[in-house]
Amino acid sequence: MMSSKTQNNNGCCAPARPPLTKEALTEMLPIYRESSVDEPCCGPPQGPASSPFEKPGYRLCDFIEGFTDTPAGSVPRVKTKLEIADLLGTIKIRLGINRSQYKVAPGLYSVGDVTPMSPVLVTANYKLTFDRLRMDLEGLQAWVLILDTRGVNVWCAAGKKTFSTAEVIHRVKQTRLQEVVSHRKLILPQLSATGVSGKQVKKGCGFKVAWGPVRTSDIKSFLKAGPKADKAIHRVTFSFLERLILVPVELSIMRKYLLWVFLTSFALSGIGPGIFSMGQAWSRGLIMIAACVVGIFSGAVAVPVLLPWIPGRAFAVKGVIAGLLMSAGMVLALGKAIGVMEAVALILFITAISSYLAMNFTGSTPYTSPSGVEKEMRKAIPFQLLVIILSIAAWIGAMFV
């Protein structure tokens, strides 16, 4: 049968390669170095010997399981299973810790027992992207060409033009890809089309661009079906979980403002007929800080998570609706602890914060157009500023009436 044979040639179902002999590995020098044979004679048990793939001046990455020899040099072979360290790294990044430093070295990698016929997948050097990709390549054979996108994901990098036509051409030439593979086709993630012109890549390095799926989880079906693949793999989604996972980063961006917000809350709350009261600053300041927390929760948690169910198209409007509901809840909960004017102040304050933060979330969605965001902002920002000023006036004014 022709079809199954072709598949074999593609490397999809190639038989597992026999393990390399010591002689074969020694030929791979300077990549492979035989381990030391000296065993310590005394003292407590020693740690494991160095990996034979370690090289002076380099550090062997945890996600590398070996090296594939090619005419253009040896190419690291990556694991398709994530380890604890990878998962911990993912959690850190999702919490917004050191997000700009989470990257892998650009260049050519391989997955499985690759052959010169295996497909070439191109992606960004954000470690989160890289992990997701190699996990979804389990059981496949492919070359993975990693571009230097400064540790930024595919879509944002394409928007910033670091995932660009020039970078693809440069990386293909730098890795001497034409000597490694026998075909002339690159599979690029569809979302990189913002930064890469397929036509120009062909002109610049001779490789034809095929636009792969949006999500790595569709790569298997894409490789099987080719251009006939389901249209759904070429469309972005924004599911409940996809929105939920963005929340911690949204919140972490606010960390640096919190101290100032808290200090200002105490300062404004202490102003009264006796010029300034420390007792008041503390008791009313705490209420104002609680209002900040409610406003942040409304704009940066409730709106993103409940996005499609909150009425209104403009995000600032969605933020107002969520903010009004949340602030009403807070005022009811406080009951007689605050006066009417203070209640009005809190409702205005929370609503303005919620509206602004909800508007900020447009930058994290995959469907808002910059023209739309700018139009919305021109209308919303003066309104938000006015409401914040009114709320502070009411908050201070409540002490004088």
Binding site: W211, H234, V236, S369
Partner: protein, 96 residues
């Protein structure tokens, strides 16, 4: 994505159907299904679905599509108001 709709009639997207050869690249690269090939020409079937990412314009071999692409991030747009379009920067430790 049909349940997500942003503001209507704002996109800067433009298609010159006379220059179009119907190659279908725009239909593939658009993440929102804005284009469809009908009778050997591309047509805009969902204008308000456009988010101005610029993938279609970058990849149209006939340069039949124009769009003013940009970053739809409030912090970035505020920068363009204050510092002007050239000086505004996207990214950094606290950005996307």
């Amino acid at each position: 994505m049909e349940k997500f709709r942003y503001l209507s009639n704002v996109t800067t997207l433009n298609l010159n159907q006379e220059a179009c050869t119907g190659c279908g690249t725009c239909e593939i690269v658009c993440p929102h299904g804005v284009f469809e090939i009908k009778t050997h020409k591309a047509g805009i079937v969902d204008r308000d679905g456009c988010m101005e990412c610029g993938a279609c314009a970058t990849n149209c071999p006939e340069e039949a599509i124009t769009v003013d692409p940009g970053v739809g991030c409030a912090a970035y747009i505020i920068q363009t108001w204050i510092k002007g379009k050239g000086a505004a920067s996207c990214g950094g430790a606290d950005c996307c």
